[in-house]
Structure formats: structure tokens, C-alpha cells
């Protein structure tokens, strides 16, 4: 009983509802259900609208409840069948699972790092949290803000809260003397970052006043480490810089301040510190970092616009300066973000290559099951049903592989975390958490669906047939080409990854020996900082340092002692300003790095004296004020064409004030900012003529640091038991740590590239082996007819060679398109470095040739008699 009238909306709706059920169920009962529903609707319509509504509610509920049960039953059946198929082909199955495990494992491990470091910042509404800075030709700097200006800024309408920030070192005494970092901040900082203390409270405006009783909110790390997680800490005092400080609270574990530093002891009010520094006259114009939280709905530009005006008043000398708001996430993770994203991207390439391999294997399997599919189609199975079952198999394969991958990642993560460059924010939060696992499962599932679909469609595209005859006379026409495309894609991805890895490795090797300008081998650095309260005069400080140098020098195993206020590679420096004495009086003083050093510093550090002399014992406080410059500074001093040695400079530095100093020597450049940054203009002053509160001793030693460290600590303690012994490190470690990021990236990128190549080689090998299998008879006939080995090899290798060549070409294109994402952290290496591209292409070609040749040789061993007999 059919009708030409279009179906009513109700009938259409019911049909749509039936689409929720599996096609198989609809095929069996769909028409009948429609008929029953029509009968029900007719009777309900007669009974009234309430009956119609109740019928619809019942019907929708019934189908919605039935659908998952029916789909689940089919899934369980297909999965059980899939597992049986896997058990029948253990070799292929194991290869696929292993491939998937490697891809998912690498991806999961890297995503764990990305998740913790880039996505795991412990701030509320972090999209609205910014660091305010000025940007000018000199780069980004915190705005020069006085405390009163900060007060004005705190009322900026576009911001919910504005906070100042300044960090200082303090000496904690008690059972052990320790120098710690404390961040002095406005009370509003906690509102800006949206964090609350784990116990106790944070400080408020009444605590943030000159003369207020000293208070501190401790970091979780300091509280649990140094104070043994004492639950009754709130209200008690700890001694910092010889002053009792009341503990108000403890912050939660993940919180490390707005710079997410791993080692901060706590947070103290900013204003008392500013007041003290103003009173001392030492830092009348302090540079304060400013953090602010934007009001919802206000644009950043609108919020910072009013601040531009105050900036013009505060820093009138630099008209190029303008305000910028740096998102907190960029502020904290900006340095590592490109590297981590590139590494994660590399694992995505590995995963894609693995997935392509699996698709290749599924194509192979589809070929062997063409008859099974033909018979099932002939028996009335729907193509969609077959595709669904094959997809279940591929998803199952990928999920099992993904599970194995997560297990691998759990193990690999330890290795990655151990290799992480020091100081990476959030490194302590790295773990396989719920989000990481959810992403891994989703990626496995998506891989199974996406890469299983093509082979499944191919497998089901056979003609229905009951013939169970032997091998198919001809392979599916497009199967070979599909696998060739996959192999080409694998070669392309591998090559791009290899090029990327090559560039990173090249950068690392380029930086590694990049002469730091001195010899770090066999040297130990001992940092000592004297508390200003107890060592207030320069005489006291000099006396202490002389005595300590003597004791360290007399220690067994120490061959030489020198010292500097700031060592190369430290990444920060003290500054001094200078003008030539004969310069125009209106000339603006230039700002350069300045380091105060002992007379023997240059010889001990093997820093070459290029011209003139090093400091000597005769450069005393009462002698002629002298200065030594590095080559970069010498070039700028001598730019006027006059000689450099003997030039008199008016030097203004923080500790010794203004003095006219004569240049007595020019020394080689060192990389004060670390291994990457080119040497900067730098001057050296003798310790005898200007001291300072902190000093880094460099000891030339004959014994390893492990045995030296305790002896050296004892030597410091014997002079002043209340002095923190600070850090004792091997100088080679310090040099290494400046390139640790590149080493980390180079090792991982290299590892991922090797993995990619191995997977691609396996893929290629499988394709050629498949090609040999498919054409065994043809090869047999040709050998019988007298074909030469070369002809046979050409026959079976031609497809692999075409794939490889296409893959190489695509890979170079892909590499050209992707390596520019690495440019942020390639140093002195172009992202389009020709030599790397050529070497990577050659290596990939070599691997491809070997991977193709191994199975191709089998073709030469085909026995023509046997091959023909199977006909």
C-alpha cells in the first residue's frame, strides 16, 4: 500500500528518529515500526492532543533508549570478531600495535609536557592577566615606576587590579643559614593572579606600609621543605636578614608567583621595601615590574591608553617608548613555547607516519579478505555494515596500540622530565593526568577512524560473489596506488622531520663549542653574598673577602682562586654608565655591563689580554682609578679613531659612585648573557677600587666537585657560621645549562626523526614486499623467458622509487613550509639551511633504497617452475 503523496511531517519525523537505530535493525523492523506508529497516531489523533503528545513522548523515549543498546550489541560483536581476526594474523597485528604505540607514546609524553607547562598555569582568568612593560628600541623593559606612580596606576579604570613586583634575596637564619628569593609585591597581586592561600591569609593594605611590622606569605615549597610543613606556622615568626618576620599564610603548591619561579621562599609587602630603598638613597628611582588584571569586556588597548600619558611624564627622555601589555602566559612560557610546540608537532608527524603504516597494513589485509567481503555482499550484507565492521577493527587496533603507547609514555616521561632544561615553569606538574589521557584516547580513536576508513571503503568495494576460488587474478586496481600514496606521504613527513631535527642539532653543535670566551674546565664557582646589616662598610667586606680567598686557596685540591661580582653566562649583570672624559659635556652616558674582578681573574679564567695589561696588585684603592674594557666596548670607545689604551672614562657605578678611570687594558669578549647572545660591551673594575655585596669565587681545582663542595662549605662556615654558603657549581655545568634547551630539543627532535625514518622504512619495506607477492607469477614468467636480474628489480622497485621520489619532493616542500616555525630558536642557522636539506634528503634516499632493496631481492629468488605451477 503505497501513496504518491509526500509523507506527512509526523511520518518524516518518525523516520528521522529511526535513523538513530543501526541500519541492520532498521532493515529488519523499520517498515513495520513505521506501520505500527501510523496506526498508533491515527488512534491517538482521534483521542485528542493529550494522547498525541503522550504517544510522541513514549515513542521518542523508546527509540532513544533502544538505540545505544542495539549499537552496543553490534559493537561488541564486531569487536569480538576483530579480536579473532587479530589473533589469526599475530605478526601484522603486533606490527600495527607497536607502530601505533610508538606514535601515541611519543605524542602522549610530549603533550604531558605541553599540558603542564603551557596549559597548566595556576591563575584564574589568566586571559585577563598581563604584565605591563614599555617597549622601545632597547627592547622590552618593565616600566620605570616610582611607588607613587604605582599608586596612581592602581586606579586605572580599565583594570580590576594593578600590582607592583620586586624580587630580592634574603638570608634566613635558624637551624641552617640559607639565602632565599623573596618577591615583594603589592597586596593586589593576589587579586590580579586570582590565587588564594592554602592556609592562613595574604597581606592587605595595612601590612603594605612603611614602618608596618614585617610579614610574609610563604611558598608551599619553602613551607614543606624548610619548615617541615608545620601546620601551626601561621602567626609564628621566622628570621630573615636578622629581622623576625611574621608568617601570615602559605600559598598552594603550584603557585610560584607571577613569573612561576620554582624556588621562591615567599611574598612580602612591597611598600616597606620601597620606603627603605628611598631612605637609603640607593635606589631612589626603582624599576618595578607591574602586573594587572583587565576588567571583563575592556580591550587591552583601551586599558593601557591612559598609562601612556603617565609614561611620558615618567620617562620623557625616550620618546620611542610605548606601553605594552604582555599576556601572563606569554610572559611565563614565551621562551619555551615555540620549542615545546615544535616538539609536539614533531610527535604529530611520527603519529601520522605510524597511522599511514597502519592504513598500509589494513590495505594489505583488505586484499587478503576480498573474497570474504565478496561473499558477505553476495549473502546480503550492506556495504555500510561491512565498512562499519572494518572500522571497528581498525579502531580496536588503534585503541590497543594507544593503550600500549600510554604505558610507553608513562615510562618515557621520566626520561623526558630528567632531560628538561632547568627552570622550566610548571615542570613539577608534568604527569599523565585526565586531560592527557583523554587526548590520547581521542587521538587513538580518531586515527583508527580516519586511517581505517579508506582501506575499509576499498575492501568493501568488491563485486558480490560466491566464488571461493584461489587468489584473485588481479589485485584491486587502486590498492597499489593507495599504498604508494601512503608511502610517499611517510617519506615526505620523515624528510621534513629529519630536516627540522637537522637544523636543531646543527644549532646545538653551533652553540656548544661557541667559545664562551673563557675556559670553564676544572673550575668551581662559589657564590657568597654578605648581609648588608652585618657587613655595612666596604672595609669589612673587603677584609672578609680577602680572608675567605686565603682560606679557599689554602684548601686541599684548590690550585687557584679568583673572583668577580658577576660571572660570564650568568644571564644578568651589574651596569655602569660612562662617558669619555674628553666628550661633549652634554653627551648622554652610555650604559654597559660592569663586572668587578680580582687582579688574577683574567689569567685564572684564561680570558686573553688583547692589549695593555690585566689588573695587578698595584691597582689599590688609593692608586690611580683604572678600568679594563672588552673588545666590543673597545671598538665603540675607539670609534672616533683615537687610541683606546690610556683613554680616560668618567664611570658611574652603583657601589663606588663616580670616578674618572684610565683604560689600562683590552681583554677578549665573553658571553655574559649566555651561550646564545652575542658578547655585549663590558667593562671590568678592580675589586680593590670598588666592592659590592656579593662575590662569585672561581676556584681552579684538581678534584671533582663532589668531594670539594663539603670542604668549601666548611671553609666559609669557619669564617662566619651565619653566612649562607650559597651555590657551589661546576663551571662546565653552568656553560652546559646555557645550551640545555637546545640539547633537550636536539635529542628529542633527533629521536623523533629516527623513529619517523624507521617507521617510514617499515612502510616502504611492506609495500615492496607486497608488490613482490602480487607479481610472483609475472616475475616467474619473465625469469622463465630469460629476463635479467636488473629487469626484475626494475619491475618491482619502480613503484617504490616513484613513491620515494614523490615523497622526497613533497618532503622538501613540507620542510620549507614548516621549518620557519623553528626560526625562533635556531641561532645563526637559517631555517632554509641548504646543507641540512641536502644531507637529510640523501639520508632519506639511502634509507628508502635499502628498505626497498631488501624485499626486492626476494623477487630474484622466485623459482619460475613453482611460480607457474601455482597458476
Amino acid at each position: 500500500m503505497t501513496s504518491d503523496r509526500p509523507p506527512s511531517p509526523g511520518r518524516r519525523l518518525f523516520r528521522a528518529l529511526l535513523r538513530l537505530l543501526p541500519a541492520e535493525f532498521r532493515g529488519d523492523f523499520g517498515a513495520e515500526m513505521s506501520q505500527v506508529f501510523e496506526d498508533q497516531r491515527r488512534d491517538a489523533a482521534a483521542a485528542g492532543p493529550v494522547a498525541v503528545t503522550s504517544l510522541w513522548a513514549r515513542t521518542v523515549g523508546g527509540v532513544v533508549a533502544l538505540a545505544p543498546r542495539e549499537h552496543g550489541a553490534i559493537l561488541a560483536r564486531d569487536a569480538a570478531f576483530g579480536l579473532r581476526v587479530m589473533r589469526r594474523n599475530p605478526g601484522t597485528t603486533l606490527a600495527a600495535i607497536l607502530t601505533m604505540a610508538l606514535g601515541i607514546g611519543a605524542n602522549t609524553a610530549m603533550f604531558s609536557v605541553v599540558n603542564a607547562v603551557l596549559l597548566g598555569l595556576p591563575f584564574k582568568d589568566q586571559d585577563r592577566v598581563f604584565r605591563l612593560a614599555t617597549e622601545s628600541k632597547q627592547g622590552r623593559q618593565p616600566p620605570a615606576l616610582t611607588a607613587s606612580a604605582l599608586g596612581n596606576w592602581q586606579n586605572t579604570p580599565g583594570f580590576e587590579a594593578v600590582a607592583g613586583f620586586w624580587s630580592e634575596g634574603r638570608v634566613v637564619t635558624g637551624s641552617e643559614v640559607e639565602r632565599v628569593g623573596v618577591e615583594c609585591v603589592s597586596p593586589s597581586l593576589f587579586r590580579v593572579l586570582g590565587v588564594s592561600p592554602a592556609i592562613g591569609r595574604v597581606f592587605g593594605d595595612t601590612d603594605d606600609r612603611a614602618g608596618a611590622a614585617p610579614v610574609i606569605v610563604l611558598s608551599h615549597e619553602f613551607w614543606s621543605g624548610r619548615l617541615g610543613a608545620d601546620p601551626s606556622i601561621v602567626g609564628r615568626t621566622i628570621t630573615m636578614n636578622d629581622v623576625p618576620v611574621t608568617v601570615l599564610g602559605v600559598m598552594p603548591p603550584a603557585f610560584g608567583g607571577p613569573f612561576a619561579r620554582a624556588r621562591v621562599a615567599g611574598w612580602a609587602p612591597l611598600e616597606p621595601l620601597l620606603a627603605k630603598s628611598r631612605a637609603s638613597g640607593r635606589l631612589a628611582d626603582p624599576m618595578v615590574n607591574v602586573f594587572a588584571k583587565l576588567r571583563p569586556g575592556v580591550s587591552v588597548q583601551a586599558a593601557i591608553a591612559p598609562l601612556e600619558a603617565t609614561l611620558r611624564v615618567l620617562a620623557p627622555e625616550d620618546p620611542s617608548a610605548r606601553m605594552v601589555a604582555i599576556p601572563i602566559a606569554e610572559q611565563i612560557t614565551g621562551d619555551v613555547r615555540p620549542m615545546l610546540i615544535a616538539l609536539w608537532g614533531a610527535t604529530a608527524f611520527v603519529l601520522l607516519i605510524g597511522a599511514a603504516n597502519i592504513a598500509g597494513l589494513l590495505f594489505g589485509r583488505a586484499e587478503t579478505r576480498r573474497h570474504e567481503m565478496a561473499v558477505r555482499l553476495a549473502l546480503g550484507s550492506a556495504r555500510a555494515r561491512i565498512v562499519r565492521q572494518l572500522l571497528t577493527e581498525s579502531v580496536l587496533l588503534c585503541l590497543i596500540g594507544g593503550l600500549a603507547g600510554v604505558v610507553m609514555a608513562a615510562w618515557g616521561l621520566h626520561v623526558i622530565v630528567a632531560m628538561l632544561p632547568g627552570g622550566m615553569p610548571g615542570a613539577d606538574r608534568i604527569s599523565l593526568d585526565g586531560r592527557v589521557l583523554a587526548v590520547s584516547v581521542t587521538v587513538s580513536l580518531a586515527t583508527g577512524l580516519l586511517f581505517g576508513l579508506w582501506p575499509a571503503l576499498q575492501a568493501s568495494s568488491v563485486a558480490p560473489s560466491f566464488s571461493w576460488g584461489g587468489r584473485a587474478a588481479t589485485p584491486a586496481p587502486s590498492r597499489g596506488s593507495a599504498r604508494s600514496v601512503l608511502v610517499a606521504a611517510e617519506v615526505a613527513l620523515s624528510l621534513a622531520l629529519l630536516v627540522g631535527a637537522g637544523l636543531v642539532v646543527k644549532t646545538f653543535f653551533h652553540l656548544r663549542p661557541a667559545s664562551p670566551g673563557f675556559d670553564p674546565s676544572g673550575k668551581i664557582v662559589v657564590g657568597v653574598a654578605l648581609p648588608a646589616a652585618r657587613y655595612s662598610s666596604e672595609v669589612m667586606r673587603l677584609a672578609f673577602y680577602d680572608e675567605l680567598a686565603g682560606r679557599l686557596g689554602a684548601t686541599h685540591g684548590v690550585a687557584g682562586v679568583s673572583a668577580a661580582s658577576v660571572l660570564p653566562l650568568s644571564g644578568f649583570g651589574d651596569f655602569a654608565r660612562f662617558t669619555r672624559e674628553d666628550a661633549d659635556p652634554s653627551a648622554k652616558p652610555a650604559r654597559v655591563f660592569a663586572s668587578t674582578v680580582t687582579a688574577n681573574f683574567f689569567s685564572e679564567m684564561s680570558i686573553a689580554v688583547v692589549q695593555g695589561r690585566a689588573f695587578s696588585e698595584s691597582d689599590r684603592a688609593d692608586g690611580q682609578p683604572v678600568v679594563i674594557v672588552n673588545q666590543v666596548l673597545a671598538r665603540s670607545v675607539g670609534a672616533t679613531g683615537r687610541g683606546v689604551l690610556g683613554t680616560r672614562l668618567v664611570v658611574i657605578d652603583d657601589t663606588s659612585g663616580t670616578a674618572t678611570r684610565t683604560i689600562v687594558g683590552i681583554v677578549g669578549d665573553t658571553r655574559i648573557m649566555g651561550g646564545v647572545v652575542a658578547p655585549r660591551p663590558q667593562m671590568y673594575l678592580p675589586f680593590a677600587q670598588t666592592s659590592g655585596f656579593s662575590r662569585q669565587f672561581v676556584l681552579r681545582v684538581t678534584q671533582p666537585i663532589g668531594t670539594m663542595a663539603p670542604v668549601l662549605r666548611q671553609a666559609i662556615r669557619s669564617l662566619d657560621p651565619r653566612l649562607p654558603t650559597g651555590s657551589i657549581t661546576a663551571m662546565t655545568d653552568d656553560v652546559d645549562s646555557t645550551v640545555a634547551g637546545w640539547r633537550f630539543a636536539a635529542i628529542l627532535m633527533g629521536g623523533f626523526a629516527v623513529l619517523a625514518i624507521v617507521l617510514a622504512a617499515v612502510g616502504l619495506l611492506a609495500v615492496v614486499a607486497g608488490s613482490v607477492n602480487d607479481r610472483t607469477r609475472e616475475i616467474g614468467v619473465r625469469i622463465a623467458l630469460g629476463a635479467q636480474a636488473g629487469d626484475v628489480l626494475r619491475t618491482v622497485l619502480s613503484r617504490a622509487l616513484v613513491s620515494t621520489t614523490a615523497g622526497l619532493a613533497a618532503g622538501i616542500g613540507l620542510a620549507l613550509g614548516t621549518t620557519q616555525f623553528l626560526s625562533d630558536w635556531l641561532v645563526d642557522v637559517s631555517p632554509f639551511d641548504g646543507r641540512t636539506f641536502v644531507l637529510a634528503s640523501l639520508a632519506m634516499t639511502l634509507v628508502a633504497v635499502i628498505a626497498s632493496y631488501i624485499p626486492a631481492r626476494r623477487a630474484l629468488r622466485v623459482d619460475p617452475i613453482r611460480a607457474l605451477r601455482t597458476e
Binding site: M1, E32, Q35, V36, D39, T59, G61, A65, L66
Partner: protein, 127 residues
């Protein structure tokens, strides 16, 4: 896959208990004679005074399962051509299905006896 004939001789009806109430009602309706889907729904509704209103989804989920377990089968007997609709299918209770439904009824009877024994139920049986 449709199972219309099942070698039910060796199967133990008790292994299929308890039945869901909806399943039991469908089997009870078919015990009166062969019926098509809508007739089953109407029969169950009238027998329970409208308390049990099966939806099409629920009914055909049950039909599929009962067919697979060999408790019902498609009936070859159809009404006269004038009253027939070729889209309808008629179902009948198999011997095994009847054994399972009987076993379920006895199970329920046992439960009712227990309820009377502990005075959860009083008075005569409801009609």
C-alpha cells in the same frame, strides 16, 4: 539474524528468567493467538488497564530478542487478503517461548505466595 526455528529441546527455560515485565506482557499477549505489532501493543494496554503502554522502540527491541532466542517466531498464518496489510508481520509464541513464559508465571506465583505468607498481601486474589 532472524531465528524462526530453534532446536529448543535441550534448553532450560529457567536459564532465561527473570523476564522483564514488558517481555512477559508481549509473550502473554501472543499466548492468546498470533498477532501483529500494533495488536500486541493494544492487547497489553487493555490487559493492564493502560498501565503498560509499549512504545514501538520497546516492542521491537523485545521482538528482536525473542526471535533471536527462539521464544517467538514469525507466523505464516495471515488474515484474509481483504483484512491483510502486507507490511504487517504476525508473530506466534513457540513451544519453548511458552515454556519460558510459564516458568516466569510460576516464579511470580511463588513470589506472591511468599508475600501472602508474611502478610504483605491480604484478601482474595484480584481478578
Amino acid at each position: 539474524m532472524r531465528v524462526s526455528q530453534h532446536p529448543s529441546g535441550r534448553r532450560d527455560p529457567a536459564a532465561y528468567l527473570p523476564l522483564t515485565p514488558a517481555m512477559f506482557h508481549v509473550m502473554a499477549a501472543l499466548n492468546e493467538g498470533d498477532q501483529h505489532g500494533y495488536a500486541i501493543i493494544k492487547d497489553v494496554a487493555s490487559r493492564t488497564g493502560g498501565d503498560v503502554m509499549l512504545s514501538t522502540g520497546t516492542l521491537y527491541g523485545i521482538v528482536k530478542r525473542l526471535l533471536a532466542d527462539g521464544m517467538i517466531a514469525e507466523s505464516m498464518r495471515r488474515p484474509a487478503a481483504a483484512d491483510d496489510d502486507e507490511r504487517r508481520r504476525y508473530y506466534r509464541l513457540t513451544e519453548f517461548g511458552r515454556a519460558v513464559a510459564t516458568a516466569e508465571a510460576e516464579r511470580l506465583e511463588g513470589m506472591v505466595a511468599v508475600a501472602r505468607g508474611v502478610s504483605l498481601l491480604k484478601g482474595p486474589l484480584r481478578p
